[in-house]
Symmetry: C2
Subunit: 254 residues, 2 copies
């Protein structure tokens, strides 16, 4: 199994980074070799795993200077989990890629030689549909779309699925939406239940697993640890473990 | 008094749109003439006020085709509150502005003729530091930075304040950070208190007013109403009313 997944949603703060890091760590705990690619200039996935990015290496160098990406892969404190870290310098790539040849395929090319070394590659995307996200979608086999169970996140889903369709038609014919994931779910509110119903109706591929709002998930990044290390018995850790199982099930059915 | 304020933070989901709409409505309730400019292609401020954007009008036409902005101003259901709505087509401006002359000043020019008609202009920014946000910062007199009381939002503050400093030196000498605003504050968690302490230490201009987490604020947008209309007695509405008072106090001291 070697699959490359983009974790994306242009709506901000829906749990993209938390999902990439927590799901990555949960898959690694099951023995899969997992690579996380931090494609967001905020570099939150990098710091959430306690790693420090270097400006001259990493994704920016691979996208703009076509440096081989192997050199930028770093181990994390979690077994079976590696990362291509990033720094805010990556924001420059968003503008510099505009006039570069085959600009949408730079990430795909950079990842090609790494594909065989990992079972799962997870790409954390910035909250936009700019060239960094387009690159990740052109390189990916499939997409996971985290959605906070609230109104603005729901509103943006239609626009995002049209963009994925556009990428499939123009850049990446086998790109599939693997699933929409409900995050920060607070079952005490009507809002969450209403949004869940809307999402499940319009997106049948929505994961059964729902990630509850859990402050332990928000605390873990300040310790530079994924939830599997910071508090493995928390509801957040258990939910991402369940998601890892559900994803493996779905990947086996492909 | 005529002041133009950019509400910005590249971290996603920190309450930029909620603050722009709720603060705008609270200032309008005090009798000030307020204009909201939706500078985010997600167009969340537009839908939160129950307004529909038109692709051919609005901010995109003003930035790229230099159409006068007056034509795009629409009233809202709230007295004294108007909006320049937007649609996802605005995302195109982020790429198209890259090669345009005086690209950072298009928003400033577009707003010039409107400045005298409003007491306060609030610009809702997208979760990035791209050309739309740079345009808003070049046009603004001051900046309000919403920060969720969590780790990733805290981490991004240093980078944002360096960017504001860069804009002040190169594009807009009188740009000042009016304040950092703590949002979605859950006083039951240590995380919130720790982040608050860090923020107040490094950013002395942090507003006294803190916005609590309140599900009524998350419900209001699905009704197309600001919190002042949807649930004026909620803790969220009262907090934004307090913020409006504190802002007016600070603006009088300028
Ligand atoms: N299930 C959860 N319960 C509680 N807090 C959460 C949960 N998931 C994420 N968070 C917190 O919510 C905030 C937003 O999550 P996160 O940063 O992962 O979203 P994002 O989509 O990656 O944001 P951005 O759009 O800025 O990249 C973070 O402070 C994170 O720690
Ligand atoms: N004080 C609050 N209490 C509860 N929910 C809130 C509060 N403020 C905002 N929200 C909700 O949290 C989510 C994020 O807020 P909002 O969309 O305003 O942030 P943003 O910074 O504008 O996001 P983006 O980065 O995508 O532009 C929304 O669903 C909003 O309704
Ligand atoms: Mg993120
Ligand atoms: Mg917003």
């Amino acid at each position: 199994m070697s699959v490359c997944i983009a974790v994306t949603n242009q709506k901000g703060g829906v749990g993209k980074t938390t999902t990439t890091v927590s799901l990555g760590a949960s898959l690694a705990a099951r023995g899969l070799r997992v690579l996380i690619v931090d494609a967001d200039p905020q570099a939150n996935a990098t710091s959430a795993l306690g790693v420090k990015g270097r400006d001259e290496a990493g994704l920016y160098a691979a996208l703009i200077e076509e440096e081989p990406l192997e050199r930028s892969v770093e181990p994390t404190a979690t077994a079976n989990l590696w990362i291509v870290p990033t720094t805010p310098a990556l924001a420059g790539a968003e503008v510099e890629l505009v006039t570069v040849m085959a600009r949408e395929f730079r990430m795909k090319r950079a990842l090609e030689s790494l594909r065989t070394q990992y079972d799962v590659i997870l790409m954390d995307c910035p909250p936009s549909l700019g060239l960094l996200t387009v690159n990740a979608l052109a390189a990916a086999d499939e997409v996971i779309i985290p959605v906070q169970a609230e109104y603005f996140a729901l509103e943006g889903l239609g626009h995002l699925s049209r963009t994925v369709e556009m990428i499939r038609r123009n850049l990446n014919p086998q790109l599939a939406i693997r699933g929409v994931l409900l995050t920060m779910y607070d079952s005490r509110t009507n809002l969450a239940r209403e949004v869940e119903q809307e999402v499940r109706t319009h997106f049948p591929a929505t994961f059964r697993t729902v990630i509850p709002r859990s402050v332990r998930l928000a605390e873990a990044p300040s310790h530079g640890e994924p939830i599997t290390a910071y508090d493995p018995s928390s509801t957040g850790a258990k939910a991402y473990e369940e998601l890892a199982n559900e994803l493996i099930e779905r990947l086996r059915e492909r």
